[in-house]
Structure formats: C-alpha cells, structure tokens
C-alpha cells in the first residue's frame, strides 16, 4: 500500500470527528436555557407578538427534537447555507473568512518556530543532561507552562506597550495610519505581531521542549544507540540521524493532535491583544449567543482539528521507517 492509499484510509477514519465536534456544540447550545428566537428578536430591537414568535419557532424548526434539528442543520450545510449572524447582521461566511487568515498567521508561525526551537533545545539538553544549560532551560520551561499565558500577555503589554511604548497594544494595524509604501504597512503589521507571537511561542515551546527532551533521553538509552556508537559512528550522526528521528515520533503526534488545544490558547491570547482572529471571534460570538455564527465557526474549528490529525498521521508515516500502511 502506498502513502496515498494510507492517507485516504486515515481520512476516512478522521471524518467522524467532524460530526462529533459539531454535534457536541449543537447539543450544548440546545440544552442551554433561553430560546434563540427571543435572543435574535432582542438583538434586532423588535417587538413581537406571541403568535409571531410561535411562527418563527416553527419556521426555524426549533420545536423539533435536538437530533432532528441537527439533521436539518446538516442539510442546510450541504446546500452551503450558513445563514446570517444575529449579532453582526452580516453573512456568516463573510465574517469568518475575514478572520481565518489572522488566526492562521499566528498559529502557523507559532507552530514552526516553536517546533524548531523545541527540537534544538530539547536535543542539546538531553545530550548534556544535568549540565547547567539543561538546568536553565528546564527551569525556563517549568515557568513557561506554570504561568497563565494571558497573564504573561498582560504583563508584556504593560511593559512594552504601556511603559516603554515600543510596541502597539492592540489589533493588526495602526488605525488611521497611512503608509507610503507596502513595506511600511508590513513593518507596522510586524510590530503588532511581536507580542502575541512571543507569548504564544513561549508557552508552546515550554510544552514541546519537555516532550522532545524526555523522548530523546528515552531513545538515547536504547541498545541500538550503543550499537551505533560501538560501530564507531560519529556522535553527531548517532544523535541527529539515529536518535532524533525516533525521538521525533511522539512530538509529531503531539503537535498534530493538539490543534484544538492551541486554538483554545489562541482564543485567550487573541482576546488579550484584541487580535481580530477566529479565537477572539469564538469568545465574542459565544458571549452574544450568536447561534448561526457559532455553528459555522465550529465547522472551521472541526476542519482545522481534522487537518491537524491528518498531518500528524502522514508525518508519522514519513518519519517512522517501521510503519506499515495498514
């Protein structure tokens, strides 16, 4: 079996994830007290007669049991009808597509830089276990995953945006500013990126570093590493070619399967830095009880999680020489 057929098989296994995530969110929304019609009418600022309300409940299918409503929602989804936002009075598709690039930008840069940093630091510390370097980075990682990231974000904002005034405190671009060239606009955007990225990377490196380090230590104690050394191979080759490849296996899985976790962290960090991405939108929409938007957002989140899982499976197959595609 080739990698392509393997990928297709994994894809089939992953599909139920979509229904699970959307169904869970759908159920939470429908178990909640208060009905969507009153909330929608409330946001429109309209007065409504009881029989009109009854009619709307009928029209939206809200009198049906939850599972029937879920199937109805799936039907609308397959007709690509995601509806209108209650709170923003705009098509849901437009609202979401504006925000996807903002979150992808944060997440992709965080993932790539964190992985690179964690692998380098993890390997160095594992090779020199109990050294001063190892101790310093272990302590740093411990603080990194014990500190609430949004608190670090607040402190960073206070120091670098508030007191020193080096970096902007919110958003993706300075509002009202005009930029003579596109490079000025990029530079301005880059300045907005620095703080949220640094906080996200610090937190994520702290987790990945521990994983790389412990996984590397485990591999280095195995017999085949001793064999490789006994053969007279250079230490560099033993570590980077023989050991690292196997040590990366759990890291790859961890990274791919943690998209939901990273998105949750991004929701908090995006809120701290007023970053107009999916995470902050998730919080705003939940607070507004904007049901159509929330359900549409849950589709995007489910798709991102599925993509992460699939990438992890494929990367695992590529890194692991032992895997048989079945």
């Amino acid at each position: 079996m080739t990698l392509v057929t393997y990928t297709i098989r994994r894809l089939i296994v992953i599909v139920p994830t979509f229904f699970l995530i959307t169904l869970v969110i759908f159920t939470i929304i429908h178990l909640a007290p208060g009905d969507p019609v009153s909330i929608m009418v409330g946001t429109l600022g309209a007065k409504i007669k009881p029989e009109e309300k009854e009619q709307m409940i009928q029209d939206f299918g809200l009198n049906e049991p939850v599972h029937v409503q879920y199937v109805l929602w799936l039907g609308r989804l397959f007709r690509l009808d995601l509806g209108h936002s209650y709170a923003y009075h705009q098509p849901v598709v437009k609202l979401i597509s504006e925000r996807i690039p903002r979150t992808l930008e944060l997440m992709l840069i965080t993932e790539v830089i964190s992985l690179a940093l964690a692998v380098v630091l993890g390997v160095v510390c594992a090779v020199k276990q109990y050294s001063l370097t190892d101790g310093v980075f272990k302590l740093g990682a411990l603080v990194g995953y014990s500190a609430p990231s949004f608190w670090l974000g607040l402190l960073a904002l206070t120091v670098f945006a508030g007191m020193l005034n080096w970096l902007p405190s919110f958003g993706v671009q300075t509002p009202g500013a005009t930029f003579p060239t596109i490079f000025d606009a990029w530079f301005d955007h880059l300045k907005h990126l620095i703080l949220p990225l640094t906080i996200l990377i610090f937190g994520w490196v702290a987790y990945l570093f521990r994983l790389v380090r412990s996984s590397m230590l485990e591999v280095l104690s195995q017999d085949y590493i001793t064999t490789a050394r006994a053969k007279g191979l250079k230490e560099r080759i033993v570590i980077y070619k023989h050991a690292l490849r196997n040590a990366l296996l759990p890291v790859v899985t961890y990274e791919g399967y943690s998209i939901g976790f990273i998105l949750g962290g991004a929701a908090v960090i995006e809120t701290v830095f007023s970053w107009p991405g999916l995470g902050k939108f998730w919080v705003d929409v939940a607070a507004n009880r904007d049901y159509p938007t929330l359900m549409a957002l849950s589709i995007i989140v489910a798709l991102m999680i599925m993509l992460g899982n699939l990438c992890a499976d494929i990367a695992y197959a590529i890194v692991d020489p032992r895997i048989r595609y079945d």
Binding site: P16, T17, L20, I21, V24, I25, I28, I29, L31, A32, P33, L142, V143, Y145, S146, A147, P148, F150, W151, L152, L154, L155, L157, T158, A161, G162, M163, Y207, R210, L211, S214, E218, P250, Y254, Y257, S258, I259, G260, F261, L263, G264, G265, A267, V268, T271, W282, V283, A286, A287, R289, L294, V301, I305, N309
Partner: protein
C-alpha cells in the same frame, strides 16, 4: 551463638522478601524527601490547600466588602496587599480566590478520576469488543477542543458557572487517564500474582480492586496531580474572558477586573492573582515531577 546468628539472618531474609506496604511507602517517601524541588512543590501545594480550606473563614473581609480603605491603595501601605478600585481588600480576595481555584482543580480531577478509572479498568480488564469500543470513544473525546467547548458551555449556562466548568472539564478530561489505567491493567492482569489470586477463586471485582488497582495507583496519582493545574488554568481563563460573576472572588476575575489598571495606578490588582496561579501550578507541577521520579513511572506530557 550459631543458632542466634541463623535466627538473625532468617529474620533479615524475611524482611527482604516480604516488603510490606508500609516499607514501600517509606521508600517512596524517602525518595520524595531527597528531591529538593519535590519538597518545595509539596510545601506550596500544602500551603495553598490550607489557605483555601481555612483562609476564607478567618479573612477580615469578603468579596462584597467595599471601601474598607481608600480605593487603589498600593501594597505594603496601611493595607497589607493594597485595595482594588472598589476599595476591597486584595489579601482577602486572593485567599478566597484560592478556594475557588482549588475547588475547581480538585472537583474536576475527582470527576476525571471517577470516569477515567471506571472506563480504563473495564477496557483493560475485560478486553475484546468492549475495550475496542471504549478506546474509540476515548480517542474521539481526546480530539475535542476542551477550552473552546468550555467557553460555549459557560456562555450558555451562565447561572452556575463554576460547576459547569467542573462538569465539562471532567467529562472531557478522562481519556488520557483511561488510557493509562487500561495499559496498566493489560500488563498487570497477565502477571502470576493475578493468576494465583484467580486460581484461589477470587472474583473479577476482587482481583480488580484488591490486586490490580493498588499496583496501578502510582501512574494514576502522578497523572492526576499534573492535571490539577490545567483545571485551575481553565477556570482562570474562562473568568478572565468575562464568563463569570464579576463580584465573586476568583483569580481570573481579579485579573480581568485589574487589567485596566495595569499600566496606571493599580498594577497589583492583576499582577498578584497571576502570580498566585503561577506559584500554585508550579507547586503541583514540581510535586508531580517529584512523585513521578519517586514512584518510578513514565507518563508523557498532555495535549488536548
């Protein structure tokens, strides 16, 4: 003379061959005490727990006592840790916040333990189709984005915020524990001491509870200890995001409340509760690390 020597050596071999539970605990305790970081972590955990248990009973002010002094008095003035912008006593708020945090931490971990133990034990001990089905469910639940679901749940059921947090985190938190318990059970049920117990007529539940579970406890305790900071984070994040009763005392709410004053006249309102979370979760993590080394178990980091 000779016989006395013999008797002594017999005594000694008996000691070596039959380590009682007390000696096992003693070994773990000694290893734990030898690690400075573990002792440090354990001390923090103990201190925060005591503060959370009895602190709220003896603090002078409650979360609704405003204007106990001028608002925004700095720390180490006439008010020990200062006051917030409503003139509430920061020290009292932090102590009551500790109770909220640990209530969520221990509550969610208890629910996780109940679900994870039950599901892991059944899957690992009975195996077969039931194992297959339960582990598929565990894999599925593991892919759910915990914090994002918590945000929705708390936004929808605003009334009973804190118990919703415990319920949802526990309901989503069990799969990793179930996996650990299952793999312990898979290994342990093949051991000779379990076979011996069965040959003597012990039933399934007796074997599970009396023979396998005690031997699996080490991994379970380590995992649960390291999970408590997660639940504390969840509660703080959610209340920080504004999903909470603004007049209640919780470290997350205090941070949300104090963020407006960070760069101006009241840095301590948001800085202290964050520090409290950092110290508390550092305590649990250090203690968990120490326990893992002392109990000699290997457990991977967690991602949900």
């Amino acid at each position: 003379m000779n016989s006395r020597l013999n008797a002594k050596s017999e005594e000694r071999t008996e000691e070596v061959h039959k380590p009682s539970r007390a000696t096992q605990l003693h070994i773990v305790w000694r290893k734990l005490k030898a690690s400075k970081l573990a002792v440090f972590g354990g001390t923090i955990v103990l201190a925060v727990s005591v503060v959370a248990l009895i602190g709220p009973l003896i603090v002078p002010y409650g979360p609704h006592d405003m204007y106990i002094a001028e608002p925004l008095r700095p720390p180490f003035s006439e008010v020990w840790l200062g006051t917030d912008d409503w003139g509430r006593d920061m020290a009292s708020l932090l102590v009551i916040g500790a109770r909220t945090s640990l209530y969520v931490g221990f509550g969610a971990v208890l629910l996780e333990a109940a679900l994870g133990l039950a599901i892991g034990m059944i899957a690992g001990y009975f195996g077969g189709l039931i194992d297959e089905v339960l582990m598929r469910i565990a894999d599925a639940v593991l892919t759910l984005p915990t914090l994002m679901l918590l945000i929705i749940a708390v936004a929808m059921f605003k009334m009973s915020g804190i118990n919703v947090i415990i319920l949802v985190s526990g309901l989503l938190g069990w799969p990793l524990l179930a996996r650990v318990v299952r793999s312990e059970f898979l290994t342990l049920k093949e051991t000779t001491f379990v076979e011996a117990a069965r040959s003597m007529g012990a039933g399934d539940w007796r074997i599970i509870l009396r023979h396998i579970l005690p031997n699996a406890m080490a991994s379970i305790i380590v995992l649960l200890t390291m999970d408590i900071p997660w639940y504390i984070f969840y509660e703080a994040s959610l209340t920080f995001l504004g999903f909470g009763d603004p007049t209640a005392a919780s470290w997350g709410i205090l941070m949300e409340h104090g963020r407006r004053f960070l760069s101006s006249q009241g840095w301590w309102i948001a800085a202290f509760p964050g520090l409290a979370i950092l110290v508390t979760s550092l305590g649990f993590n250090l203690f968990g690390d120490g326990l893992r080394d002392a109990l000699d178990v290997t457990i991977r980091a967690r991602a949900e």
